[in-house]
């Protein structure tokens, strides 16, 4: 805790961060969205450490979620969307796991899940919305009564209530707050003081982080305290919401990181293909996760040529003219 020089002591390694904060059975929220800013290096480390039975809570998730499901780390899922856009309209290992009955899951919508994180961040037990009325999201439950009694799992999927502020008929959906055990996310910048700055879209990362009991952040760059505090309007999370910080350049590959690198279309296409076949997928994991002991090794395997192609333009924040088919 000797942080009175204004510098945080929370810097650590991928290995230590995962070991300390993520347990088998943990409820985990993943930052990013489909193919952007997924905390991939953290996902790979979770797989390498053989963590099982995770309960994942997310809105629209793609690569990190799919690789965790494929590696058998996930027992349970609350989700709005499992896809990688044009690179996997439905994420393949996610699809298979559900079709095979391998995971317990429950569907919400993107706004519903984001509002649930917001409620968690605000410290309120539920939040109302009109979204969902008439949908099977209201009628079809996925969790068993036993699951609903578990610690930190909502007792009911949702509740429909008459708006008490009007005499007219006005049904409202109440969504239970989400308070993950851990939120993992990848940011562009973290200050030496522990302040987090995300550039480009923030998705629901900030709500997810504030709703959680612990937060692990990987980042592209560590910057000085003076730099990050010279424009505090741009920062997203103060140090006290963050529990572990790891500098991991290209920590979101093969997903994108605004201002740093684009998503890797070849890798994503290759992944979708191998994910279709159990044996091929096992080989993929061996090759890209289990067979590598560090993120540096991973990047060597990706190769400098690819990294150069993916490099974002300083003007647009993405790789102009990248071959994306």
């Amino acid at each position: 805790m000797s942080e009175h020089n204004g510098l945080t002591q929370k810097f650590t390694t991928l290995e230590e961060a995962v070991k300390k904060f993520i347990k088998s059975g943990s409820i985990v929220a993943i930052g990013g969205f489909t193919v952007s800013r997924n905390p991939m290096a953290l996902a790979y480390e979770i797989i390498r450490q053989g963590i099982r039975d995770l309960h994942i809570v997310c809105h629209s998730h793609g690569q990190a979620l799919d690789v965790l499901i494929g590696a058998g780390c996930v027992k349970r899922l609350e989700i709005a969307y499992g896809g990688n856009g044009r690179y996997a309209p439905t994420c393949v290992r996610f699809r298979k796991a559900i079709e095979r009955g391998e995971i317990e899951f429950e569907d919400y919508s993107n706004y519903q899940m984001s509002l649930r994180f917001l409620a968690g961040a605000l410290g309120i037990p539920f939040i109302p919305t009109k979204s969902g009325l008439g949908s099977d999201i209201l009628t079809k439950e996925g969790f068993s009564p036993q699951t609903r009694r578990e610690k930190n799992v909502a007792r009911k999927k949702l509740v429909v209530l008459q708006n008490p502020f009007t005499e007219e008929e006005d049904p409202i959906v109440l969504l239970p707050a989400l308070t993950p055990d851990v939120t993992i996310l990848h940011a562009q910048y973290v200050g030496e003081d522990g302040t987090v700055r995300i550039k480009g879209l923030t998705f629901a990362d900030i709500e997810q982080a504030k709703a959680a009991n612990a937060v692990i952040v990987t980042c592209e760059e560590i910057v000085s305290r003076a730099f990050i505090r010279s424009d505090p309007d741009q920062n997203c999370l103060p140090p006290f919401f963050v529990d572990a910080i790891v500098k991991v350049p290209y920590g979101a590959h093969p997903t994108a990181c605004f201002g740093f690198y684009d998503y890797d279309p070849k890798h994503l296409n290759y992944y979708r293909k191998v994910a279709e076949d159990d044996t091929e997928f096992k080989k993929y994991l061996d090759e890209w996760v289990y067979g590598l002991s560090s993120h540096t090794q991973y990047l060597e395997k990706v190769g400098i040529q690819t990294l150069i192609k993916l490099k974002a333009s300083p003007v647009t924040g993405y790789a102009i003219g990248l071959e994306r088919k």
């Binding site: 709005a80 996610f94 559900i98 919508s109 993107n110 009325l133 996925g142 923030t202 994306r324």
Partner: protein, 255 residues
Amino acid sequence: MAGYKENEMMAIRAGRFIKDGDVVFVGTGLSMLAAMAGKRIYAPNAILFFETGGIDPSLEEIPMCVSDLRVMYGSSLNSGLIESFSIVGHKKLRTIAFLGAAQIDRYGNLNTTCIGNYLKPKVRFPGSGGACDVAALASGFIVFMQHEKRRFVEKLDYLTSVGWYKGWDSRIKLGLKRGGVIAVVTNLCVMKFDEITKEMYLAEYYPGVSIEKIVENTGIQIDVSRAIETTPPTDEELRILREEVDPQRLILGKK
């Protein structure tokens, strides 16, 4: 430029629904083409935005999904999901959305969740994403469908997103005070919904497509008495779509 592909017809026809000043919720694929073409051709003051939080980006290259970095450049605002969905439902805006689906019923309700039993489905799709939300909250939405018999069904395997619900005024009675499905744009035709009953009917067939073919490929009975032929894409529409919106043909695909 005499010929055009099915997906070009679809994007252009859908784009024609955008009115100047609309605030347009854009998804992936055809929806992206329709919105980008619509804004460029008919509705220069329309604002395109993405559920991920990108509001009115410059879209100099076509995004491959809604979290693509290309929705973060030159925007008015880079925000997040909460901000975006609060725009969808904002009372002072006319917000319209494009959605795709695996199944649709006669009242324009959509399924993007699964085929078969929910808990152990035959086929699992990605899920709602923002579809349930915009179907509930936007001023209106337009659906893209591949026109196959098995996709137009009497009963959805899972009702992900509410259109006109059970027809008539049932949507309003649900508690959804605005919005509803405006049209279905398929690779063969355009379906609309009766003003009173809210039942789907054939509104337009594309040039060269017979009404018989449409009926044959539709798994539910539809009224065809009001059908007219769709105005084919103009040269200008095709030029903008091909040269400005998707010059790399990332979504349009091979010619």
